[in-house]
């Protein structure tokens, strides 16, 4: 069995990890790094519950080998905001009831956070488009849209406050 050592920055922290090449990135995150906020929901790269940010770009971590992250940066839900200070997207999901069972939520929030970096003032349709790779069975999506818009408004207010 081939084991390789890789260097990955995980939520801002450099880590040295040993992986077998076939170990999927999602399993590397959950089992080797012990971070279970990233979830597994399907076996055909369809649901997006496993979404993480790879160098800031949202990707499905179930369709990436852990070894491919060597030299790169991963952000998981645990790295979205800090325990004491939530990311506005996390706050927005709570404020606007954007989650019910919570299983799709980490992936959904990371995709939303990446969207807001690119597009700070998305329309409803912009949001629906951006999250069309993340499936949710509980919410019917409408409150997720509202959650992302709540976050956008908060981030805009924060930017105004900073520049004031």
């Amino acid at each position: 069995m081939e084991i390789k050592q890789i260097k990955v920055t995980v939520n801002g922290e450099p880590r040295i990890i040993e992986v077998e090449p076939r170990l999927l990135c999602v399993h590397m995150i959950r089992e080797v790094l012990g971070m279970t906020g990233t979830h597994l929901g399907c076996d055909t790269t369809s649901c997006g519950a496993c979404t993480v940010l790879l160098d800031g770009v949202p990707v499905k971590s179930c369709t990436l080998f852990g070894i491919q992250t060597d030299g790169h940066e991963i952000t998981t839900v645990e790295g979205l905001g800090r325990p004491s200070e939530l990311h506005p997207v996390q706050e927005g999901f709570k404020e606007e009831h954007g989650l019910q069972c919570g299983f799709c939520t980490p992936g959904m929030m990371l995709t939303a956070a990446a969207l807001l970096e690119d597009n700070p003032d998305p329309s409803d349709d912009d949001i629906r488009w951006a999250i069309s790779g993340n499936l949710c069975r509980c919410t019917g999506y409408q409150n997720i849209i509202n959650s992302v818009k709540w976050a956008a408004r908060k981030m805009a207010a924060q930017r105004t406050a900073v520049s004031a």
Partner: protein, 302 residues
Amino acid sequence: MYPSRFHYEAPSSIDEALQLLSVYQGEAKVLSGGMSLIPLMKLRFASPSAIIDVNNIPGLDDLYEDGGQLRIGALVRNRTIIRSDVVRARYPLMASVAPQIADPLVRGRSTVVGSLCHCDPQGDWGAAMLALNAEVVAVSASGERRIPVADFLLGPFQTSLRPDELAIEARVPAPSGQPFGVYHKLERKIGDFATVGVAVFLDRSGSSVTGAGIGLTGVGGTNVKVSAAEEVLVRGGVNDDTIGEAARLAAEVAKPQTDQRGSAEYKLHLVRTFVTRALQTAIGREPIDIRQRRFEDVGALA
């Protein structure tokens, strides 16, 4: 869910990659985007003994116009195509295809060249590249080959790439006049494969058509090029008669199967309908469009 074991190689140059390809003698698969290969490996429909990951090779992710061609490196992601000003301005067919592939997360990794090499009959880029008369550039120890896409896509998951060759680029001829292009894809939801896909390209100078291309998805063993219709449009321009003829010719070469996405009859009808609608749009008529949400109106960045 769990792929079989494989040897993992991560070459840092094209030469290294080529050496590895010859060492593994066809037992290795090249990994670029991975959005088609890795799902197959997870279901164990593919169990290559080695993976050659080309994502670390510099210089393969360039997208630029040069020498009368758009040059698309092997690692150019669909996300990059969507964000590209030059594609938006001068390659409208590509700008129409890219957002309709899979979903935004998959588009962040998947590549144009990878899609052509994977050669899924349901692949969207094959239809577009056939319509655009593109070519694939393949290198090996014995040199470089430039393969027209029509000669590259042979059958389901079969290309004319040799086991010792690496595809490093796709090249699309630059438009000489006013380019028109649109991809009509009927998918039951975002992320589904096309029930039917029709790619239409026109290069025009005034009302005369200097170049035309029609490519189809999901209606044959591989993407289908409707060369006969292309000739009709170049000869006769775009009008009611040529539109009808083009639609008829497209349905003639399409060979769809009845499956859970629909009957063969329905798919042929869609081929005719989409060819017609695309060409109607080209001459300023607005075909029926009942969509409540249009991806063209979204500030799509992925």
